[in-house]
Amino acid sequence: MLDIKNLQVKVEGNEILKGIDLHVNAGEVHAIMGPNGSGKSTLARALAGHPAYQVTDGQVLYEGKDLLAMDPDERAREGLFMAFQYPVEIAGVNNAYFLKAAVNAKRKHQGLPELDAMEFMTLVQERAKLLDIDKSMLNRAVNEGFSGGEKKRNEIFQMALLEPKLAILDETDSGLDIDALKLVANGVNAMRAPERGFIVVTHYQRLLNYIVPDYVHVLSGGRILKSGGKELALELEARGYGWIEAA
């Protein structure tokens, strides 16, 4: 479903990704690990289409289409979802109103009828249980005044509502206590399906105890230095990143 070839990305003139190759099939969970500054989040943001991340070379095919030629909103409507590392607070925009607009933007794109307020609330109530989202979070402005854990839960909640084909989680685990981490992981696991792919970007192996990946890739210095199965994460936990970078 996703085929990344020799992806090179610059941020503010600095070359961050220096040639990434990655292939993700539907139904797979890929974990991207790596030390700080290795380019993990850059990969996530470039795939989502953040305007500050400039692709200088390479190709990304998403379901056979040129992903890099699409606007960020088009990517989202085509089923790509990125859970933000730092979800943005948007004053004055009601969270439920925003979520309804997002769900309906996608439905419209798929040629489905838009959900009315009642249908949307039914969907919300069903998905909110999964992530322990309470009513007050829906009625507040998007992410405004949310705790760190609430923000991350709200991201996964959005994912549950939007039902993407490919979900990219950008350090969704960072800053979470163990209870929140379990909630988030349960939310993700409930979404795992044969038709859906995941890229889980994380700094810590801990998350992968709860979201068990099919593949683990180690990113360092803008390149994938090593790929393996889930046992690679445990090895990284035990030995750190040094032995890979030295190799």
Binding site: P51, A76, A91, F98, A105
Partner: protein
């Protein structure tokens, strides 16, 4: 001397033909206004209060005093909430009794022509009129005073709650261009009374005219007055207006100002919190495109202890529009335990739009809480990206954020039909502005 004569010539000529008649005190007041304006002239940018707003183009135009006209009725429906149950219509500065309707007001509430009130309620008018609108250093208030003739009068007796909002509609230049009107409003709310009033200033699109309004509002002890101002003049019109409110002990005054029209707009709003335990809200929302100018000057004067004030002004500017916001908060020596908060935000949709903003705190008491903050800028690109990453187009994301920005002020309008009408008007105007920004 030559310079002074030059810059004030049009008004000086008109001043010679200013209205006559009425009670003696009024004749005297007009004469003092005329003399003061002649001495002050049109302000220049060298004056602190007019530093960012060049009034010279106003002085250069030859406005003649508007005559009463008919035919205003047909234009009224174009403007928000003109179907209000109770409305007072003032056309070119003169009260129009045929367009006004006051049925449904509680007994003893006086609502009607100011000119009529000057004879029929001489005691009330003489006691309050001109007490707040000091014109010593304010040329346009002086000019208005020189031309005082008519306008709107509202008086609510002690303890009376007026449920129905009262809409005062000032229509300008209904027939001819290049006219000026100097309407005057006097509102007296007795102790324990409650009143919601809207002042709308509207005019026929495309006409160049000058509205120079002065309003005085007296909020009695423990009274509640919600004041709304909707400025929707022709986009070629000049609009200068001042609102003066005085609050007595434990009273509540709120001002909501919406500035949507006008080519040259200067709003002054003054509130003096002159009794303990008073509360004042001052909110504003202004919209300007093209090369229009909107200048809001506000002053909240905490004269007594234990008063609160909350002020939020927001603007959305496109084209090469310019805005000025000057928010003064005075805390007098006796005004201990003052709690004052001021926020000022502006969104610039284009590179050509500009705003000059200045908070001005003058604090003479030591046990007070005063905060102010200003934020000027473009839309937050990170927020736009966040919304787009969830499938909204750039235009949808931007509109959502702009509506949210304006919504904070709109949602505080407590008169539902007015809020809805304003929302429609505002969003239509925004859609036009944004289409221009997009080059559609």
């Amino acid at each position: 001397m030559t310079q002074v004569a030059e810059k004030t010539t049009p008004f000086v000529t008109a001043l010679e033909r200013r209205p006559q008649g009425g009670p003696r005190w009024l004749e005297d007041l007009r004469a003092r206004g005329a003399a003061r304006f002649t001495a002050l002239g049109i302000p220049t940018v060298r004056e602190e209060e007019w530093r960012f707003t060049n009034a010279a183009p106003l002085g250069a135009l030859d406005f003649t005093l508007a005559e009463p006209v008919s035919g205003a009725a047909e234009h009224l429906t174009e403007f928000p909430y003109t179907d209000a149950e109770v409305r007072l219509v003032v056309v070119n500065g003169r009260f129009d009794s045929t367009l006004s309707r006051t049925k449904g007001l509680p007994a003893r509430v006086q609502a009607g022509s100011l000119a009529t009130a000057m004879s029929e309620h001489a005691d009330v008018v003489q006691r309050y009129f001109g007490q707040l609108a000091d014109f010593t250093n304010r040329p346009f208030a002086a000019l208005n005073t020189a031309f005082v003739q008519d306008g709107a009068f509202l008086s609510v007796p002690d303890g009376v709650v007026v449920d129905t909002p009262i809409h005062i509609i000032f229509v300008s230049g209904a027939d001819a261009a290049r006219v000026m009107a100097h309407p005057r409003t006097l509102i007296v709310a007795g102790s324990g009374s409650q009143l919601r009033v809207i002042e709308s200033y509207v005019g026929v699109q495309g006409l160049t005219y000058f509205t120079n309004a002065v309003s005085e509002v007296f909020v009695g002890e423990n009274a509640v007055v919600d004041h709304y101002k909707v400025q929707q003049e022709s986009i070629d019109a000049f609009h200068v207006a001042s609102l003066h409110a005085h609050t007595a002990r434990s009273s509540t005054f709120s001002s909501h100002s919406f500035s949507l029209g006008g080519k040259f707009v200067r709003n002054d709003a003054f509130a003096i919190l002159d009794g303990e335990g008073g509360d004042c809200t001052m909110n504003g929302l202004y919209l300007a495109d093209r090369a229009r100018l909107i200048d809001n000057h506000t002053t909240i004067d905490h004269a007594k202890a234990h008063c609160g004030s909350h002020e939020v002004y927001k603007g959305i500017l496109g084209g090469t529009a310019r805005a000025v916001f000057n928010g003064k908060i005075i805390v007098r020596q006796d005004a201990q335990k003052t709690d004052a908060k001021q926020t000022n935000r502006a969104l610039l949709l284009t590179d050509g739009a500009t705003i000059n903003t200045k908070p001005q705190l003058e604090i003479f008491a030591d046990d007070v809480k005063c905060t102010h903050g200003a934020a000027i800028g473009q839309l937050d690109e990170d927020a736009i990206f966040y919304l787009r990453a969830r499938g909204l187009t750039y235009a949808e994301a931007r509109d959502m954020m702009i509506h949210a920005f304006a919504g904070e002020i709109l949602e505080r309008v407590q008169i539902e039909p007015l809020r809805q009408a304003l929302e429609v008007e505002l969003y239509e105007q925004l859609a036009r502005d944004l289409a221009e920004v997009d080059g559609v």
